[in-house]
């Protein structure tokens, strides 16, 4: 079965029974570049491996940005449907991940605008189910959840472009260059959006402190 090659990689799914691995003769750690090349040649196993490798990232990014799980799942499907059908347009085969992120953010941006319009017209009263605070429910302390709840409130008030840039940088941990690329803007614009968003967030939740453990390491 084609789907038998799909494997979850998230730590939270490690204990769950896995679909048996069959027929996948691709090297376990084959780089994205190799998978993209083979997928371009019509190798569906390579395409499914690309999906399996990056779907969690795309779904998580979408879920955190949108706040709605169902919409995030829908976007994840759409992102890979688009990406796998347009693989030939990807110039740098090794840049599959930022490329799908770019597609995802673009779709998220459209969903946010559509939702804003729906709310303006009074035809959307659905409550978010994947805010940062809700997602941290099983892993974070009460204090952290409280911080995240404040952060959710602050992000909700930001302009869409500022919010997306800030979340890519501080929530998803993308480099500034990557943020600019994913948002399809210049580096200066990305920095400006992030800075404006940070000012607004600080104004809403008071003194804001963010420990970058990766930098500390």
């Amino acid at each position: 079965m084609l789907f038998s090659v799909l494997r979850g990689r998230h730590p939270s799914t490690e204990t769950k029974p896995r679909v048996p691995e069959r027929a996948l003769r691709l090297p376990a750690e084959a780089p994205d570049e190799q998978l993209v090349t083979r997928a371009r040649e019509g190798d569906e196993r390579a395409a499914s491996e690309l999906y399996r490798r990056h779907v969690g990232y795309v779904f998580g990014l979408s879920a955190r940005m949108l706040g709605h799980r169902a919409e995030a799942e829908d976007i994840a499907q759409e992102v890979f449907a688009i990406a796998l059908e347009r693989l030939r347009t990807l110039n740098d085969a090794s840049a599959f991940r930022p490329w799908v992120a770019q597609i995802a953010v673009n779709l998220v941006r459209k969903r946010i605008r559509r939702r804003q319009l729906s709310r303006l017209l009074g035809i959307d009263d659905s409550a978010p189910d994947t805010t940062l605070e809700q997602l941290s429910e099983s892993t974070a302390s009460g204090e952290t959840r409280a911080e995240l709840a404040l952060l959710d409130g602050a992000l909700a008030k930001l302009p869409t472009e500022h919010r997306l840039a800030w979340m890519l940088r501080y929530v998803e941990g993308e480099e500034l260059v990557a943020v600019a690329r994913i948002c399809r803007c210049s580096l200066a614009t990305a920095k400006r959006r992030i800075a404006r968003a940070a000012e607004s967030v600080a104004a809403h939740i008071g003194v804001y402190e963010l420990v970058d453990e990766s930098e500390a390491e």
Binding site: H10, V55, G60, E73, L135, Y170, V171, V207
Partner: protein
């Protein structure tokens, strides 16, 4: 602020996706990929919209006017009728004075007494008349949609918007042009074709290459001028009662005058093409088309070199085509007519009739091949589209 958030914050807010969800979403991805492959994208819709707009503009700006024009033309593209709306059939001038036939396209035909014309082909594109005998003057309205031509036995006259006179007797043909230009074709015409301008005339005598072309006001060349061949003339010397009657256009009387032996016996006894053609005329024009088969068949078989042999084969094909169960014979006749060198005005009709004959004979394979051949030869013909569709249909 009670506790700093770890960077990146997604560590505090993971969005797990279990294997079941991964597989479920993958099925959705596969379905969407298939849908994207078989659904036009936005670009396609854009191009479709542009195409539709262009098509609409084209339709409104070009096609509709052309269609309306074609409709108007089509209304006048049927058979050419007389000005009073009656069909143009066999026309015989029997009165003592000349008769004028006014046609719907403002053309006129003046027939002298004893003149007989038979339409061979009459449709929106062509009018072909057989000048059986007599003297007729044709004033063809210029710029009309039809190609006019006259089969005169000794020659074929092709006309485009002109005024000319044709005088056919059993042993001579005189074509004189008053206005415009005509082409006269025939084996007895020098170089097989002669272009006549206003004021010119051509005189063609039965026999070998015997022609005299001169200004219309010049006296006709006498037979003894040396331009007349001294070879044995094809025209029969016999002048039976039936011939006199047929010359006057009384074909029924001629048929009766042939007596109990009928056309068949007279045809068997005759060795002259003129006699055989005249006998076939008597049979056909008196309403006994079946009797024309014998004399026409003899012309085709025994005088294939005669310029009238192809016309005889064509006429024979028409007779067979009208007879149930004779499709195979008709197909052979039209094939003979084409092979023998049918006048250009009838060639297209012969090819089309050949297809029809083969269809009636039930020989579908050859009929389709003939239809394909027809389309290749006459791609602009009004019949080409229908025949091409039929030939390609299973």
């Amino acid at each position: 602020m009670t506790a700093p958030l770890r960077f990146p914050i997604r560590r505090e807010a993971p969005a797990p996706l279990d294997d079941v969800s991964v597989q479920r979403l993958w099925r959705g991805v596969v379905a969407r990929r298939l849908a994207r492959r078989y659904t036009p994208g936005r670009g396609a819709f854009l191009w479709l919209a542009i195409g539709a707009l262009a098509g609409t503009l084209l339709t409104v700006g070009v096609v509709l006017p052309l269609r309306n024009r074609a409709r108007v033309e089509t209304q006048s593209m049927g058979p050419l009728m007389l000005s009073d709306g009656k069909p143009l059939g066999v026309t015989v001038a029997t009165t003592g004075e000349s008769t004028t036939a006014h046609l719907a396209d403002d053309s006129n035909i003046v027939l002298e007494p004893g003149t007989r014309l038979e339409p061979l082909e009459n449709n929106g594109h062509a009018l072909s008349l057989l000048v059986v005998m007599g003297h007729a003057t044709f004033d063809v309205h210029p710029g009309g949609p039809r190609r006019w031509s006259f089969e005169c036995g000794l020659a074929t006259v092709e006309v485009v918007g002109t005024k000319l006179s044709i005088d056919r007797s059993p042993d001579a043909l005189v074509v004189a042009v008053e206005h415009g230009v005509v082409l006269v074709r025939g084996d007895r015409v020098p170089d097989r074709v002669r272009r006549l301008r206003a004021g010119e005339r051509i005189e063609i005598h039965a026999g070998d290459a015997v022609t005299h072309a001169a200004p219309a006001d010049a006296p006709a060349a006498p037979s003894a001028s040396g331009t007349v061949s001294e070879h044995v003339p094809v025209v029969s010397a016999h002048h039976d009662a039936w011939r006199d009657l047929s010359t006057r256009g009384d074909y029924a009387g001629a048929y009766r005058a042939l007596g109990p032996s009928g056309v068949g016996a007279a045809s068997s006894a005759s060795q002259h093409v003129d006699d055989l053609m005249a006998l076939s005329d008597v049979a056909r024009l008196s309403g006994h088309s079946g009797d024309a088969v014998v004399p026409l068949g003899r012309v085709v078989r025994e005088f294939p070199a005669d310029p009238r042999a192809s016309l005889a084969a064509f006429t024979l094909g028409k007779i067979h085509l009208a007879e149930p169960g004779s499709g195979g014979l008709a197909a052979r006749d039209f094939s003979d007519a084409i092979r023998l060198g049918l006048p250009s005005s009838l060639t297209e009709d012969a090819y089309a009739n050949q297809v029809d004959a083969l269809r009636r004979a039930g020989d579908d394979a050859r009929a389709r091949a003939a239809a394909t051949d027809y389309v290749a030869r006459f791609p602009a013909s009004p019949r080409a589209v229908a025949l091409a569709a039929w030939a390609s249909a299973r």
